[in-house]
């Protein structure tokens, strides 16, 4: 069994049957859910500025993929990046500070919700232009190849990105040069309000890999262990010079596309069917089937997270705000 280590130090290097490792994955998934719910509250309450794109329901994709990466590997993300950031090991505090526009935020308050990132932790600030991260990730992978470095980059994007020219151009070049990039498509059935059925003749996104001459697979994106296993395979192939790999992770967005979206375009039966396949409940069931995990263990994880977020919110609301002098800094290197 391959061992994995988590760049953000959430999970100790351990086989994926190890109790502590599995609980670490669970902790990350719940952390993302609780973080997002708290942010939603702060936003609706009117205390948090800006706009938000959230990932409730999609936590397992971020956590499963990032758990297959090593320190030194990178991810690229999108406008919907809070979960990716937490999975990659960015702290609750640096994210909340960023959302409140504070100088202590991961991008000094200059990025905001759509541009979360921290290069020290292997995350490029979110690219909010749909598919804009794909050629960029391929370029990072090209650099690793030219520099003869063993790193890989996992590039997160949505089902909507597949229709962009940037997808085709970036993916094709990654393919012809066998670049170490794991193309992670979180297929949540919608690009903004538009269902994939309306904008794709072949809705099986992983099929596209074959037409470029590399491997793709479709995975249950709400099963964190399935995502982890697929991501481990993909990362291994990329490191062995056999990239890229396209992972299509089937998942569902439980909340609005962005602020104040009531999701009236999502049919009720579809929502209910996916809610019944929630990644947290499902993983909890897997864990509780083990003789060494008790409901109290999971409750304790959640309670600890709630407390951590509570403190972080208070800190973020008092975090230092930028001054005029900061406005013109950071434009050039």
């Amino acid at each position: 069994m391959t061992t994995t280590s988590q760049s953000g130090a959430a999970h100790p290097a351990a086989p994926s049957s190890d109790r502590a490792f599995l609980l670490g994955l669970y902790q990350r998934i719940v952390l993302i859910r609780e973080f997002e719910e708290r942010v939603k509250f702060l936003f609706l309450e009117g205390t948090m500025p800006g706009t938000i794109h959230q990932c409730q329901g999609q936590e397992a994709t971020a956590v499963g993929v990032c758990a297959a990466l090593q320190a030194g590997d990178y991810i690229t993300s999108t406008f919907r990046g809070h979960g990716h950031a937490l999975a990659k090991g960015l702290s609750v505090q640096e994210l909340l500070d960023e959302l409140f526009g504070a100088t202590t935020g991961c991008c000094k308050g200059k990025g905001g919700s759509m541009h979360m990132g921290n290069m020290d932790k292997g995350m490029v600030p979110g690219i909010a232009i749909v598919a804009g991260g794909i050629p960029l990730a391929a370029g990072m992978a090209l650099a690793f190849k030219l520099q003869k470095k063993p790193q890989v980059v996992a590039c997160f994007f949505g089902d909507g990105a597949v229709a962009e020219g940037a997808f085709h151009e970036g993916v094709n070049m990654a393919a012809i040069w066998n670049l170490p990039v794991v193309l992670v498509c979180e297929n949540n059935l919608y690009g903004a309000s538009t269902h994939i059925g309306k904008v794709m003749k072949n809705p099986k996104i992983s099929d596209r890999a074959a037409s470029y001459g590399f491997r793709g697979e479709t995975v249950d994106g709400n099963d964190v262990l399935a995502v982890l296993a697929a991501a481990q395979r993909a990362v291994e192939e990329c490191r062995a010079g056999k990239g890229p790999v396209l992972l299509e992770l089937l998942t569902y967005r439980r909340t609005g596309h962005s602020r104040r979206d009531a999701c009236h375009y999502q049919p009720k039966d579809e929502r209910e069917a996916w809610f019944a396949r929630d990644p947290i409940t499902r993983f909890a069931e897997v864990l509780l089937a083990r003789p060494d995990v008790m409901p109290a263990d999971l409750d304790a994880i959640k309670a600890k997270i709630e407390a951590e977020i509570q403190v972080a919110v208070v800190n973020a609301q008092q975090a230092p705000q930028p001054t005029l002098a900061n406005l013109t800094e950071d434009v050039f290197a």
Binding site: I129, A163, G165, G191, S193, T194, H264, Y265, T323, V331
Partner: protein, 338 residues
């Protein structure tokens, strides 16, 4: 006569043009989805029910749907393309600049491209990639007409004129001007409602408009800055400074007849632009003023614009970035003293 905001006025304008002319259709992302939003800013809300098959939802493919609008226009249709955020025009710009703008000329005057591209702009708490003032990148492209609408009356009249024009027309709209009330109103939104006549009307694509008369200084602005300029003028009036406020509105071509008449009267001009100063439309206007009526200036042209930085997220920085009423008042006051 009815009171409407920009989003509603545009919606009615589109509906009326679609009713009048069966070659008019809309194309863009999330514009007609049942249960959806009618575009990011509700402009096309309800139109897909009214005009089945003529509100076309596309994949997320700006270059593609813009090119399709150009092609359809060449074949006799009159597409109204919807760019969800102006920032994505960078993806579409090849089709706009290399194809739409040049088709007439390259074909020796045989092809026409009667299309409209609508795009919202403005710094509105969304960070660097959903905020840019995009009009600067399209003014000065030969073959494109560029307009910017700041009131509901203009929005409807200009939309109609653009649809009826035989050339590619880009209409810039501002996120803070679509509507200042209701569920999707933006924080910081400004009231841009107008009394809209019941009868059909158009607003020409090449005219600036004097919003307020005054004799001491001319203030030029467009979109949100036209409103801020008008607010600044009210404050200046309390100090005894009478500013003439002109909504430039037509950015390509620029209406130097209206602008020049004002400057010949006031002798002083302040240009306000939301985007960064360097390379802005205000630079073009300043140069044009020198050519058209430079001899009437009693003081050098002054500009208030954003600093040359990307749009920051943090509200404190964003507010410092975007020109505001106070900066306009100060600049105008200083200008009248020179």
């Amino acid at each position: 006569m009815k009171r409407q905001g920009i989003a509603e006025a545009l919606r009615d304008g589109i509906a009326e043009e679609m009713t009048r002319d069966s070659s008019v259709f809309c194309i863009g992302e999330d514009i007609g989805v049942p249960g959806g939003w009618g575009g990011a800013f509700t402009v096309t809300l309800g139109l897909s029910e009214k005009f089945p098959g003529r509100i076309i939802d596309t994949p997320i493919a700006e270059l593609g749907f813009t090119g399709m609008a150009v092609g359809a226009a060449m074949m006799g249709m009159r597409p109204i393309a919807d760019m969800q955020y102006g920032d994505f025009l960078f993806l579409a710009s090849d089709q706009l600049i290399n194809n739409a703008a040049k088709m007439r000329y390259m074909s020796g005057g045989t092809i026409k491209v009667p299309m409209v591209m609508r795009a919202p702009i403005g710094a509105t708490g969304r960070g660097s990639q959903h905020a840019q003032s995009m009009e600067r990148y399209f003014t000065g492209v030969p073959g494109l007409k560029v307009v910017a609408v700041s009131t509901a009356y203009d929005a409807k009249g200009i939309l109609k004129a653009a649809v009826r024009d035989d050339n590619p027309v880009m209409i810039f709209e501002h996120k803070l001007l679509y509507g200042s009330k209701g569920a999707r109103a933006e924080p910081g939104a400004v009231d841009a409602t107008s009394d809209i006549p019941d009868e059909d009307y158009v607003v020409p694509l090449d005219r600036a408009v004097v919003r307020r008369e005054g004799q001491h200084v001319t203030i030029l602005g467009w979109l949100l800055m036209a409103h801020f300029a008008a607010q600044a003028a009210e404050q200046l009036a309390k100090e005894g400074i009478e500013a003439e406020v002109i909504d430039v509105r037509s950015l390509s071509p620029i209406d130097y007849a209206t602008i020049g008449a004002s400057i010949r009267k006031t002798g002083r001009v302040l240009i306000v632009e939301e985007g960064p100063k360097t390379g802005g439309v205000s630079a073009e206007i300043a140069a044009g003023i020198m050519e058209h009526c430079g001899e009437s200036l009693q003081a050098p042209v002054v500009r208030v614009a954003s600093p040359d930085v990307p749009v920051p997220f943090s509200p404190i920085l964003e507010n410092a970035y975007r020109p505001d009423v106070a900066r306009i008042v100060t600049a105008a006051r200083n200008l009248t003293k020179t």
